[in-house]
Each structure stands twice: as C-alpha cells, then as structure tokens.
Symmetry: D2
Subunit: 362 residues, 4 copies
C-alpha cells in the first residue's frame, strides 16, 4: 500500500489472470476518462524500439469502480488489466534455478513459495499498475498546474544533454524509442544498444525528472520529507539502485559557499512572495519541503539482469550450474522506466497536495 | 511518525523546553538500560573535533515509560532530553530573514508560522531524538545478530579507503573526530577542515553504511522494499541529498554481464541454503528483499549551509539583503551524521524484523 | 482500508461493473480454494427466505492474484465479483430525491456527487466484498483453531434462546432462513416477517456472535483494544446502530460484586496456565485483551429503511414530497448480516493473530 | 496510536515517572494556552465527590513542544504530566495475584511481563493523556463551531432525565459530583453511591454524549464510518462494554416506518440546503456520515472491578485464593469518564474535520 490520503494498492502476478490497482482517496468530482489511463499505459508498453522486449500485450485497462459518467465519485477506483500473452513454458526451467540479479531466491527466502513464471509479482510487469494509478494522480495534479516530465539522461554509459544545454530538446523525448532529449543522442543510443543486443548483453541508465508548478510548502518536515517520500517511491522500482536530488552526490564534494542557492529576485503573486534563485542545487526542496523552484531528481537503474549470454547460477539444492535465460527481455529497461518514474512522482505529489490542505488553518 | 510495527514519533524544537521520542511497538522483555541510549547520544553530541559546533549540551536522556526494572514492558517507551544551553538571542536577527540553504522560508510557506530560534524543529538537533530511538532498535537487533556500522567515506572532497582496501581500518572510525576509516585519511581531513574553517566556509561528505547479519527475506516486495524504506529513512535527514545501494549510480553505466552478482558457493546452515557471491553490486538487496549478503549503501550530505562568510539573502518583505550568520555551527556535519545514519538504519531493520514474523506461516 | 497487517481494501458500486476486494498481508503458504470464498458468498446471497430481496445474482468470485496452485503467495489477493442483474431504471426517480433512513443525502453532502443507482457504494451489496475477504481470514483462523459463529438472537422484536438455554440449537442456525437458533423461534419469526411484508413495513434485529479458540493475549492495550477494533468493524456495517460485549449495557446497571468474573479452576495446557471462570460478563476481553474465554458480543441492526409504504421525504430543491420506494428490498436484513458479522470478526482476529507475533520476544 | 491526520500517541505507566501524549498533525496557527489543557485535566481529576478515589495528584501538564508564544507551530505537541503520589507498596501483594475484572492476567498473557503497580499502563490513569490530547482537539473544534457535551444518564441503576425531558438541566451537569443533568437525580445518586460504599461494593453507569455544530459530510463511507470510529474510540476505554448511536438497541426492535427519520422542513443556509427531521433515531449519522443533525450516542461502563469486599481469585501458580484489594478506588468511575468520553469524541471529530478537506475538489 502506498500513500496516506491518495492511497494505492496494486496486485497481480506476471502470469496470473490479471494485474490491477485500487486507488482509495482520490477526491470526488475529478474528470477522469479511460483514455487518460490508456495514454500512460501505452507509453509503458513493451515493443517500442530496439531496447525493448517483444512481448505483445494490449494492456487494455478496465475501470471497475469509482467513476460515474466520467467523474470520480470519491470512492475507490479499481482498474484491472488482463494478462493476455502467456509464454509460461519459457519459465519452466526456472522452477528450481535462481536467475542472477533477479529476486527469485530472496522471494523464496521470504515466503517459502514463489510463482516462478516470469518472476511472478517481482516481474517488471507490476509497474503497469503503478502507471495506471499514476495516470489518475496526473489528472489530479494537472488541475493544480503541476507538470511532471522525465527522460533518459544517460543510457548504456552515454550521457545526454542537461536541461540547461543548448541541444536539450524536450519535445524530442517522446519521439525517439530511448526517450533521450535530443536527436543526436538518440542515434548514439541506437548504435550502442544494437551492439549490446548482438553481444547478448544489457545496459542500465539514468532517468532524470523535473516537475514544474509545485507550490511551496509540500512535504512533511521530519520523517515524511518530500525528498524522502520521493526516494522511497523511486527506489521501490526493482531495478533502481540510487536517487539524488538537485546537486545530489556532487553536493557532497562542494563547499557551502558554492552549494547554497542565493536568492536574486523576489516576485509577488497571489498575495504571496515567491523567491527566484541563482542556482537550484537544492533541487527545489529545502528541509524536506518544496520551495517553489523546479523539483529535480535523478534515478540510477541497473542493467537488465536477464541477458542471453550463458551465466553461472545456483539451484534450489545448492549446486552451482550454468544457465541460459530464455523468454523475451529488454536490452535496456530504462526508456520504459520513464513513465513509471513519472507515475510514482505523481502519486507522491498527489498525496502531499491533499495532505497540505490539513497543515494549517484557513 | 515512522515505522509500521516498530513505530517512532519524535518531538521538540531546538530552543523549546525539550526534545524527545516515543517508541511504540518495541516487543516486551527486551533488556534495556539507560546507558544504551546515553552511549549513542554521546556519539552524536557536538564538540567532538574541529569539524563540530561548540554547543555544550549534556543531552541527558530520561526514560519516562515503557521500561520496568531494565526490561521493556511492550508499552510505549518515552525518552525526553531537556534543552539546556539556549543562545536564542543569536537568532533574533533571523526573525525576518531567510538563511540560504536553510528551511526557514519553506517552513513558513508550509505553516504560516515558524519558531525562528535555531531553526526550531528543522534544526539538526532534531536528530538527537532519532539517535535515542535508534539506540533502542539497536539493542533489539543485537539480539538477532544484526550489526550496523557506518563511517565517513568522503569528506570535503577527500575520498577515504573502501572496505576492501588494505588501509581500511574499522577500529579507527570511532577513534578520530571525522569518523574516517584510517589514520592517514583522518590527518588529511583535519588539514582540509581547518582550512575551510579559516575561510569561514563549510564542507559536505558521504557516509557509508554496512550491515552484517541481516537474515534473508527482510523487506516487502513492492512499495515497501528494504531499499525504498532505507532511502526514505536516510533522505529524511535534512542535509542528505542522495542515496545509493551497492554499485549504485555506477551500476547505471555497467553491463548486465558485469553487474550481475554470480553465486560461487552454496553454504548450508540451520537447515537452509545460503549463497555466496563473487561480488555485491546489489548491496545485499534483490527485488527489495535482503539476500543475506552484507547490506551496503552510501548517503551524500551537502555542506553545512550556515557559513560565516557574508551571503546574499532575502527578507520577509521580499528585499534582497546581505547577512552574516551568527551562532555556533559545524564546519562539516558529516561525522556527526554517522550515528544518525546508523540509528535510521536500525529503525528500518527493527521494523522489518518484526514485520517478517507475519510474512509466512510457521 | 481495514487492518494493519492483514489489510483489506474493497471497491465497487452496486450498479457499476463489479465489486471486489484486495487482501494485502495474508501470509504465504495458506491453502486457499475458490470454494472457500464461494461458500461464504452463498450464505450472504439474497433470496434465501421470506425475509430477503429477490435480486438474483450468482455472485461468482474470481481470484485475480495472490494464489498459485491453491496456495497463497504472500502477495495481494484480489477477488472480483461481477454485477450482473442491474435494474438501474428502478432508481431513476431517486436521482433528486433523498430516501428516508438512507445515506443519499449525507453522501451528497460529503462528495457533492453520488451514484444514485441502488445506493451506489452505500448499498448493502458492498458487504459482499467483506464476506469474500473474511472468507480468506476464516481459513487462516481455522489453522489456529479459532471458530466464529454468529446467529440472529432477536428479530422483529422476538427474542430467541440464549446459548445457555436448553432450547438453543447451534445446528439449526444455518437450517432456517432467519438464522435463529431453534426451530420454534424460526416459526415465530416466519409469521412475524410475513405480517410485516404484508403491511409493507420492515424489521430490525440483533446478531450475536461467539468465538471459540481465541488464544489469550490478542488485542493492543490502549487504543487498539480487541473490543474497540471489533466495535469499529461491526459498526462499519451501514445498518448497525450499537454493539455490546459480554454483559454489555446490563453491566452498567450491575454491581462490581456481581459483574466481576470469578475464577473457579486453573487448567494447564501447553505449558501455560489457563483460567476458568464462573461467568463471562467480560465477554472474553479484559483491558482490551482476549482472556482465553469465549469471545461474545451482540450487534443491533436497525430495520431496513426501504419500505413499500408511502413516506414523506425531501428533494434536492428542498421541497418536502411523498415517495414510494421501488426495487427489491429485504423486509429484514439481519439474517444476511450474520455471515457479514462473522467476516468482519474474522478480519479483526486475523489481524491481531499476526500482530501478536510481534508483541513479545520469543 | 490514534487518528489518521490528527494523530495521538500516549505513554506512561500509572506508577512510572510520568504520563504524556504527543499530538502530531495539529494544524499550525491555533491559539493554544496551557490553561486549555489544565481545565480539562481538572475535570478528570480524582477526589471530586463521594464516587471518587482520594488519590491526590496535581496533574500539572507541561507542554514540551509544538507551541510557540501560545500558537501551534504545526509540529508535534508533546504534553507531559509527572506522577507524583505513588503508593506502590499498596500493590506489592498483587505481584503474583490476578485481580478479578482487571487486565492483570491478560496483560501478562500478552507480554509475559507486567508492571503490577497500580495496573501499570492498564490503569485508568492512562486516560489522563487522552484528556490532555482531547483538550487540544476541543480547541480546534471550537473554531469550527462544534461543541461536545457528555453527562451521566444512568448511575448505579438510576436513570436520569433525557435531553427532551422537562427536568433535564444542562447547567447542572458540572455542578454536581456525579455529572447528572438535574439536581434531583444528583441527590438520588448520592444516596445510592454512599450505600454501595458502605457495603464495599461498586457501581457502573451510562454516559450520554451530544455534539452540536457537526457539519454534514464527516465520516468515511465504508470502514471508517463516523460511528465506527467513535465506537472504537469509546470502547478503547477500559471499563466500557457497549456503545449505541441514536435509537441504538431499541432500533433493533422497531419497524422501518417508526425508525426512519422523516424530514419536516428544509432550511437553506450558506448556499446549501440543510434538512430538519421529526426525530433523530439515526443519532445524526446516516451511512457512516454526519447528517448535520445533533450527534448522539451512549456508552455503557461496567462497575469498578476493585471492590473492598473479599473476592476469590487465582495466583500465578494457578491456585485459587481469596484476596482483599487495597489502595484507593472509585466506587463509580462513570462521572470521571465524562470528560474522557468528550476527549475521545473530540479526537475523532478533529481527525474527520481535517480528513474532510481532502474528500472533494474545491
């Protein structure tokens, strides 16, 4: 379960009958169409380029509750997506083998039982439910003028231009299969990914995220800081191994006189003062609370563990064996992680927008 | 509030009457002495070296409830520490000024009111409560054979030896004021920090953390992954700007064939198989669940924003002004962050140890 | 959302596409068949006697996740039941009218919008999801030797024999459509309900519940007392207006010397002492914690507000009007509340059984 | 822990160093003076009449945090009350004996350890913390025009006049030591309690509560219904054995045509329609949501289990023994339960007032 007021539960195993989510706490009266969910699911769908698996699912969402005549009722919104394209037989040899870099063994350690078909619930397919729920959160946030934009800023070791760079192109992101911000980078990525595919290897990358329109004051000041909750949200994605806000790890090597963001101009607006700063090393968060600057963070994703090269592994009995992973797998999952990062960010922000209503007397 | 079963609430403003915490959900029957808490509070106390503020608090904890004849009762454990050494007058000029890099302004945006004396609740002094609560969690974990060890792996841009390096010395960590693992590094740090102090500037750094004895199976598989919860715990520290697990951001630039941890030997033990691996790029976590390997992560801390150099800032009316921050401040907060990182790690692990009891039928 | 460790979310409007629940936190390795759920749903199904509505739904549950080869995986268990038999047109005249005794108006006050068809989410059909989730909890509890038995102890003002009475017959409960404990009472109820039906009126009643096999120690001692949580569970049923434990309201009129349960015999068992008592005025709970005695409580249900007599009501514009409620309605909902009360009791106990594992060191 | 947004934790054993509470989630900017808390604590204090124990504690609260210059900061409010008047020696003989009607044995079953002095945490003294927290909630509610009024409607089997009766006198409630609404009843109660005291026996009673100014729309529609949450709050008081709303158990014996509350007049006000009803059998709650009518409920309290008559009981070894309870005990706890019932009601309503802000878009 995720969230305090805008709460989400997801369910479903990769090769079970269906995946889905229930959103509890979405305010009543929100205009919500099925197309809002389909659009985001389409962005996550596999088969969008050389980087991705060929699994062919339509991923058609069905809204079971909580919406009446395209308006939210305030009641739980259940969304279900059927699992259509099972190749469970591909996974038969995994019943007693633990794939390197996968959660097969830890899952079994935890529960004493696992659904070995396609990773079961630990499959990346689980993120589909997050994207569906995040689509609802995005609709809510749009009404508050909050816009979330993520992209691939590094793929297979190739760094892409930063938002401040002249060749950074926001519109290019959804045009190329790698979701990199600029055509030149997309071409470099294509070549690199193709080479890795030929070798039977895989790649990781970094997703950057920028959020505009975040009002100052979001985030709880001690344990539930805005960055703490975002970090948990992003690191709850299976392949994510790190997250940093603003200057992030580079801040650890800078001086206070360099890292402090200095106000240059104070602007009014709606009766309240809003500051502008020379820099945004803070990534839009001070003391765990949004400052009104652009929210900025980066997330590191490890390379897909499923590679077609032979690998050494262990079986249930403890014997070390060689295995070759079959089935369809992404060479690089990172471009498909972009809508998922956006979805998780949306869920966190929707929750804080609602929580903030209770923080002070009106 | 923090945690699901091992729950913690903290309270207190830096210059109010007292700070404290309530731990709800600590199991009954645990041997707990006041000295267990004092020892950890002493490690966090200021005035331990050139890096630290000279604020002189005894930080004497009082256990108000939950313990009877040095045994926990299963009831809430309240611990209070009085605030003794107020220099509130140092902060009078901050009533209407927003310090760069501090949460003064965001706090006011959130609540419409703030206690300007010493940062109020956004003060680093709030971490005292976490250390007190973490001390209780540590006692619980010790009974399970879980040991948490953190240190400063980078300070003011100077990198220290890694755990695998020949000059890495665990015992040195608590011997030098910078909590770096090796005498040579401590001397380099001393020189660098002294120079920054002379300039009126400040430094950040990186805290590394390693946990041994973590049983496989801790962590919830989707939203409440072990790394997700740890990330939230660590990023809930005000100065923290990033966290990474195992290979972390470097994993994003590696290949699957390099990054997958390959099992080399399967060892039995207590009737269950435990795997050994050639590497630990995963940092001891797979799919959000502990693997039984050493848990490893790093956290980036920004430089102390309070520097004695004159800085440009803004006041409540919107005017840009120059300010000089008075009061006593750490040149580098990172060595004192070490026990706090350990405390937050202990709180997360204590919670998961209790949660794991409910994950499967016995 | 309901529960702390054994958590349940339900969703669905009466005339929407489907109803359902997600159970998060059910331990792995539990044997769970679809028939376990069907059996309980069948007990709740309408059309079981003169007391009930004629709505004819098959209420076929589909398990979408969390179960693999009839064993729970430890992952969320989603169960969906399609809504088949819509007579939405029956409710067209309710779009702007507020039915007396129904939540039409309060719902609209809360959300500014409502699904007027059959009460939407405030329909009694919502309890179907609770029964499905409770069926899973019952399977868990059976493994611990905990058995829950509810019955109708008063219907339409007719009191039935108490468990201690010679004519109390447990086996009779599921044999007659009113779920009363004894054939003679069933005949009296039949006559009374038939008379009310002829008059176009409705009746309320009292459900009693007894739980055997509850181990001592369940319940949290302050806010989350066993009786507090059970009371919330039972009063979360729309028609319930009161709940009492053991001697209940009668205890308020007794003396301490009468009401105290006096131990008569101390029996060992599994190395622990278990007390017997002369009486059970406490209803098996002392200080919010189960004592090991039989858990006993009663719940009062108001008469069905939907009656076929003409009634005065108000419309959205504020005008007072006369209305006749159409559609199919229970003369008395209480017999169908029996499996629902059992389900809610099972959910509370399953949660406490899991929570108790974390209360003390082993 | 209690509450979702307006959250409360309490701590403290009866004979430990202190009792207290932490309120997390109180909005910033609320005017709160120490006197607001003292006033309510004074109402709960023992020694107020023939019905009460003679324990003489000043119960002086100290606010440790969350308030700055008599305004709430939005941060956790910690309140501590020292335990001053220990007569722990009175309880020495209870170390191995289980008092009838007390939680001694169940507590030990749960935790394997207990503080036997004065009941430890299961002591009625724990309610002091609830009253302190409730005092803060009351201040918040007063700003919303919500007023909570409780009284003793039945004591030692003597029924007092109902709010509609001509001899019901609200002002009398705080004037007499039994908190009954009318002088004549107070005199009857005095005689009855004195007689019980002479016999060494004790009495129970019923507390009624009425809340005016509750806006329509409070309460969550399924599990967290307003009545469900209130029931849990009230039944979390150790001596409470039942609760009923509006017509309560009597509703179970009435017909739909009698029990439905019929609207008689629709009044406008602030742009929204508000209904008046002929009756209030619903107790101001329909479908778990406040209707805008007066909120009404009753709670049954069992007689004080500590009586001075000799009683049969059991010891830790299982032997049945006779015991005489020493120490100071209330003949009837019910008058002192009045401010506690009000406090719990205030906590629930404060939470729902804040939650309601998130229920619909503005």
């Amino acid at each position: 379960m995720f969230g305090e007021l805008f709460r989400v539960v997801t369910f479903g195993e990769s090769h079970g009958p269906a995946m889905g989510c229930v959103i509890d706490g979405c305010p009543a009266g929100l205009l919500l169409a099925k197309a809002d969910i389909e659009r985001e699911l389409r962005r996550r769908r596999p088969g969008q380029g050389g980087a991705s698996t060929a699994r062919n699912e339509t991923d058609e969402p069905e809204i079971l509750s909580g919406v009446f005549k395209d308006k939210t009722l305030g009641t739980p919104i259940a969304i279900v997506v059927r699992n259509a394209d099972h190749h469970s037989a591909d996974y038969e040899n995994l019943r007693d083998l633990y794939r390197p870099g996968h959660a097969d063994r830890t899952w079994e350690d935890k529960y004493g039982i696992r659904d070995h078909r396609g990773g079961g619930r630990s499959s990346g397919r689980e993120t589909l439910c997050r994207v569906a729920a995040g689509a609802v959160a995005k609709v809510l946030l749009t009404g508050y003028g909050i816009a979330i934009r993520a992209w691939v800023s590094s793929i297979a070791g190739l760094d892409m231009p930063e938002p401040e760079a002249p060749d950074f192109d926001f519109d290019e992101i959804e045009r190329n299969p790698f979701r990199v911000p600029g055509r030149e980078g997309a071409e470099r990525a294509l070549a690199k990914i193709a080479a890795l595919k030929a070798e039977g290897d895989s790649a990781g990358g970094i997703v950057s995220c920028a959020v505009t329109g975040v009002p100052p004051g979001l985030g709880e000041p001690v344990f539930d800081k805005l960055d703490a909750r975002l970090a948990a949200a992003i690191l709850s994605l299976g392949a994510c191994k790190g997250v940093e806000f603003g200057a992030g790890f580079a801040a650890a090597r800078s001086r206070g006189s360099e890292n402090n963001d200095i106000p240059v101009l104070a602007e009014g607006g709606a009766g309240r003062l809003s500051l502008s700063f020379k820099t945004n090393n803070a990534g839009g968060i001070l003391g765990g609370i949004s400052s009104g600057q652009r929210l900025e963070f980066k997330a590191a994703f490890k390379p897909t563990p499923s590679i077609s090269k032979p690998q050494q592994t262990a079986d249930r009995g403890g014997a070390v064996r060689e295995m070759i992973i079959q089935g369809r797998h992404d060479v690089c999952v990172v471009p498909r992680a972009v809508p998922v990062v956006e979805a998780m960010t949306a869920l966190v922000l929707a929750d804080f927008v609602l929580l903030q209503r209770a923080a002070r007397l009106v």
